[in-house]
């Protein structure tokens, strides 16, 4: 039997922890730094590529993802040297997907050609909103016009481009969003990520929300309406959801992210990066220090070997498999599920949810239905808790 990860592939996630400013909604591991010694960071990334390559030698790399923070603040030469080192340590699939997350300002657009020649073939751009008032409320440094200009540059430079929008914003009605999404679909190439605004603890929005200073957010019913409208409009435009918040023309799905959702293996490189690596048939979770300085120091001291590498217990492998896998429109393969030996209780819970119409089985797969997807957290609790 193939190992769990093999059907999904092997990807490398590289985390760049810096941004020009911290957005008030964002709980990513991102920091504003006065000065960044790009070459010092490059050396540390290379050392980590070497270390991880020694853990899982002989793999074929299907995808690389530069995520952040704002990786479009990286010097193109740093991106180039990382990709070179990856190619030196592993074999890289011919059609490998190499994505870089970019913020849509003019400064960054200037570097796009450089990333393309370094080997990046896909960008994912954080446009977030198409009107300036909302961009300002979201604490973004760019205007809508600037974002669209950067997007044009990206389209010229890369084979594949996607952009992100955040919706269910303060005071955003259904009609507002439908109009905005309509424009987005006109602009979109073949991929879109559409996230409902999540109020995260430990962010400026989280704090304001708790103190009642973030009015106008949608209640559950409006959020559900916004979500349903999003599903309909994107499907009608030929970019249906292939995951809870991700939409693509068939064939244009982000393969790197599918590795996460389909329980593939991924190496996590950089501060606070998580990985899943199958070592000697055992699924392991890897983690690195979150604080950029602490990570850099540790790597420079040669202490990368002491970063945590822990077994994911069998039950947790199953939990993650369903938790991540049911986010995908096509769900999980029943034979892979059977390989993880779910107990009677879980199987009967699944049956009940099939009965109630929240899950369905077809073509050897188990998937959440249109009814189940908007309440997936409850579905997962009903299966696993």
């Amino acid at each position: 039997m193939p190992e769990l990860w093999q059907e999904a592939g092997f990807g490398i996630y590289l985390h760049w922890p810096f941004c020009a400013a911290k957005c008030p909604y964002c709980d990513f591991n991102s920091h504003v730094a006065a000065e960044i010694d790009q070459d010092r960071w490059a050396r540390a990334y290379l050392a980590e590529v070497d270390r991880v390559a020694a853990l899982v030698p002989g793999r074929r790399v299907d995808t690389v993802f530069f995520g952040g923070g704002t990786p479009s603040l990286m010097a193109p030469r740093v991106v180039a040297s990382v990709l070179e080192r990856i190619a030196a340590r592993w074999s890289v699939a011919e059609a490998a997907e190499i994505t870089l997350e970019a913020n849509p300002t003019s400064v960054e657009a200037e570097r796009f050609r450089g990333y393309a020649s370094a080997g990046v073939n896909r960008v994912s751009m954080g446009i977030q909103a198409l009107n300036d008032a909302d961009l300002k409320r979201l604490g973004r440094l760019h205007s809508a016009a600037e974002a669209l200009a950067a997007f044009d540059v990206a389209r010229a430079a890369f084979g594949r481009v996607s952009f992100d929008l955040i919706y269910a914003r303060q005071d955003q009605g259904l009609a507002d969003w439908e109009a905005e999404l309509g424009r987005a679909l006109e602009l979109a190439a073949d991929h879109l990520s559409l996230y409902q605004l999540t109020i995260e603890d430990g962010t400026a929005f989280g704090d304001r929300f708790r103190r009642g200073r973030l009015p106008g957010l949608p209640d559950e019913d409006r959020a559900a309406d916004l979500y349903a409208a999003t599903q309909e409009m994107t499907a009608a435009a030929g970019l249906p959801a292939y995951e809870i918040s991700n939409h693509a023309r068939p064939g244009a799905e982000a393969r790197h992210n599918l590795i996460y959702w389909e329980s593939g293996d991924y190496a996590g490189i950089g501060p606070g990066a998580h990985g899943r690596l199958t070592l000697d048939g055992v699924r392991m979770a890897t983690e690195t220090p979150r604080a950029p300085g602490a990570w850099l120091d540790a790597v420079e001291r040669g202490a990368g070997g002491s970063f945590p590498v822990e077994t994911v217990p069998g039950e947790a492998v199953l939990d993650e498999f369903l938790m991540m896998g049911l986010r995908v429109r096509d769900g999980v393969s029943l034979s892979r599920l059977a390989g993880l030996a779910p107990n009677e209780e879980i199987l009967s819970n699944i049956n009940e949810l099939v009965e109630s119409g929240h899950l369905e089985q077809r073509d050897g797969r188990l998937a959440a239905t249109e009814l189940g997807r908007p309440v997936l957290n409850a579905v997962l609790r009903a299966i696993l808790a």
Partner: protein, 599 residues
């Protein structure tokens, strides 16, 4: 050992929030009992719940030493008491251990219902009373008017009431002098056989059972062999101490003194408040009369959310009952909830406090069933049954009639709000007994059914009078009425823990209110849930809780897998503890909140 002439024992009593605990702070502070740096506001309110709610729940005793103007130093034992009506038993019990009371009255609010109730108790306990007007620092304070009121409404001498501000410290030296000069010294015979009153007891995780005593006659020393006259339990005294307020060891306690002892007491049940402690060898002849038992008026079931916690719950309840003689319990079993206890309380706040203490101090998650009062069911065969739990309501064909408990409520309210109060009482099936005026305030006395009062009357009263009314009540016997059992069905399954007795004429209204409340209290599930109220199979009210429409994580990538899985693990642990009613999870607070009405 202090001679009787140099001891004064007193309780501080008042309506809720009139400043008893703050006055206690000042007395402790001015006598240097506690170092300045260790002082904090209402320092005797040491329980978390007391600090959070800003009220006193347990009476607290402190021994302070006061060098009086006559050049002599006096030992003063003060007992700070709670003001809320639910803890009145705490007050009456405390009063039995002392000879006098400081009656604190907020000079900006004047005499309130518990002021009256406390005075009657103090008189009943033969106390000398020193009236103290507090909060005279407030611009709204009207000491002259309040003195008049005390004389008119209460009928005690008030021209020499002491005017103080417990907040600023103004007048506190006068209070100390008055304690010595105006309150009596205790009486007692040092040479008589030991006779001590068991005033209070509590469980301390380090010391075990701690017993507070007031010595009447004789002397008690460390190492003595004593027995409790009621329970017959015998123990050797391990430790003798006084509370300053920290426990400070002392060699002996003589007549008039108040202190605590520990005695490796294993059986929590051996210590009963009101019991008499005497020497095993040379016992006293007659025990003290003991305390009047308190009568619980609200009952509810307490069940561990996790059935495995039952033994821990038993232990917790026994220990809490030790500290609270007004709380009663007996084992109960329920089809849906398994093993638990049916517990009796003096009111809803009392219930909430006990529930919170069990959850926090003993870390047990509880399911609390809908509270109920005690009904008398008269069966056709002549038998009379007490119904503590609506779930036990016998088949109606065998029931002749049902009686419900009534109370006599005394409400003091400014004229402007009288109309609202009368309407509230009328709505709650009240019968007016009396209406008198004292200045611009009215005193209304109503006969009300307890079950209309116990859950939320006090909150409603406060809200319709913007906090200006005060309320006190006494039990006033039973009366027959048209009472029926109302069942609540959630997702078509009856939930026993939510059934309640209601008056037939009010059933529809209550049923509708319950269903609406539950609709807000029960979180949405993946399916829609009908919530119905029914009487004997006939649905009288119905609401539908619509299905959950949106609950999904927007972003979930590689870095989120671990975090999201841990969240799921937590939910798994939570759900193991959560009891299901059919397929529905009903949150614990729903059982009490559902009974509170908005009108």
């Amino acid at each position: 050992m202090t001679d009787l002439a140099h001891i004064r024992n007193f309780s501080i009593v008042a309506h809720i929030d009139h400043g008893k605990s703050t006055l206690a702070d000042r007395l402790i502070q001015l006598t240097g009992t506690v170092a300045e740096r260790d002082m904090k506001e209402q320092m005797l309110d040491s329980m978390d719940i007391e600090r959070e709610r800003g009220i006193t729940i347990k009476a607290n005793t402190v021994r302070i030493e006061y060098p009086a103007k006559d050049g002599q130093t006096y030992v003063l034992n003060l007992i700070d008491t709670p003001g809320h009506v639910d803890f009145a038993y705490e007050v009456s019990r405390s009063m039995r251990a002392v000879e006098g009371s400081l009656l604190v009255v907020d000079a900006s609010q004047g005499v309130e219902a518990q002021t009256l109730a406390n005075v009657y108790q103090a008189i009943d306990a033969d106390h000398d009373i020193v009236p103290v007007l507090n909060k005279i620092d407030l611009p709204a304070a009207e000491p002259a008017r309040v003195k008049e009121q005390i004389e008119d409404v209460i009928g005690i001498e008030a021209h020499d009431a002491i005017e103080i501000s417990a907040k600023t410290g103004l007048g506190i030296p006068d209070v100390l002098e008055a304690i010595v000069t105006r309150l009596p010294a205790p009486k007692g015979d040092r040479n008589a056989p030991l006779k001590a009153m068991l005033v209070d007891s509590w469980y301390d995780p380090y010391l075990g059972v701690v017993v507070m005593i007031r010595v009447i006659d004789g002397v008690i020393r460390k190492g003595d062999q004593v027995k409790m006259m009621q329970t017959g339990a015998r123990y050797g005294i391990d430790r003798l101490a006084v509370l300053r307020p920290a426990m400070t060891d002392i060699a002996e306690l003589g007549p008039g003194e108040i202190g605590v002892l520990t005695a490796s007491i294993k059986q929590v049940r051996d210590t009963r408040v009101g019991d008499t402690i005497t020497h095993e060898r040379k016992p006293c002849e007659t025990p003290l009369p003991g305390f009047k038992p308190s009568i619980p008026v609200v009952f509810c079931g307490l069940f561990p959310a996790d059935a495995n916690d039952f033994e821990d719950l038993r232990d917790a309840i026994e220990k809490l009952a030790l500290n609270d003689a007004s709380f009663t319990y007996e084992m109960e079993t329920s089809a849906a909830l398994g093993f638990g206890f049916r517990c009796g309380f003096l009111g809803l706040l009392h219930l909430e406090v006990i529930r919170d203490r069990i959850e926090r101090e003993y870390d047990i998650d509880l399911i609390t069933t809908a509270p109920s009062v005690v009904y008398k069911i008269h069966m056709k065969d002549g038998e009379t049954r007490e119904l503590h739990n609506p779930a036990d309501m016998p088949d109606l064909t065998y029931v002749d009639h049902i009686e419900e408990p009534r109370i006599k409520a005394t409400i003091l309210v400014p004229d402007d709000y009288l109309g609202d109060v009368l309407k509230l009482c009328q709505d709650r099936r009240g019968i007016q007994l009396d209406l008198t005026y004292a200045g611009s305030r009215a005193m209304v006395v109503y006969d009300l059914p307890l079950n209309e009062v116990v859950f939320d009357f006090y909150d409603r009263l406060k809200s319709v009078t913007k906090g200006y009314a005060s309320f006190d009540y006494q039990m006033a016997g039973y009366r027959e009425d048209k009472l029926v059992k109302m069942q609540i069905l959630v997702n078509d399954e009856p939930v026993d823990a939510l059934s309640m007795m209601v008056h037939r004429d009010r059933a529809e209204m209550r049923g509708r209110a319950m269903c609406e409340k539950l609709k807000d209290l029960i979180p949405r599930h993946m399916f829609k849930i009908p919530i119905q109220a029914a009487i004997g199979g006939k649905v009288i009210a119905r609401e539908t809780l619509s299905a959950l429409r949106k609950d999904v994580t927007a972003k979930c990538y590689g870095g989120d897998a671990t975090r999201k899985r841990k969240l799921l693990d937590k939910q798994k642990a939570g759900k193991k503890k959560m009891r299901q009613f059919g397929k529905v999870e009903i949150p614990q607070e729903a059982f009490i909140s559902a009974l509170k009405m908005d009108s």
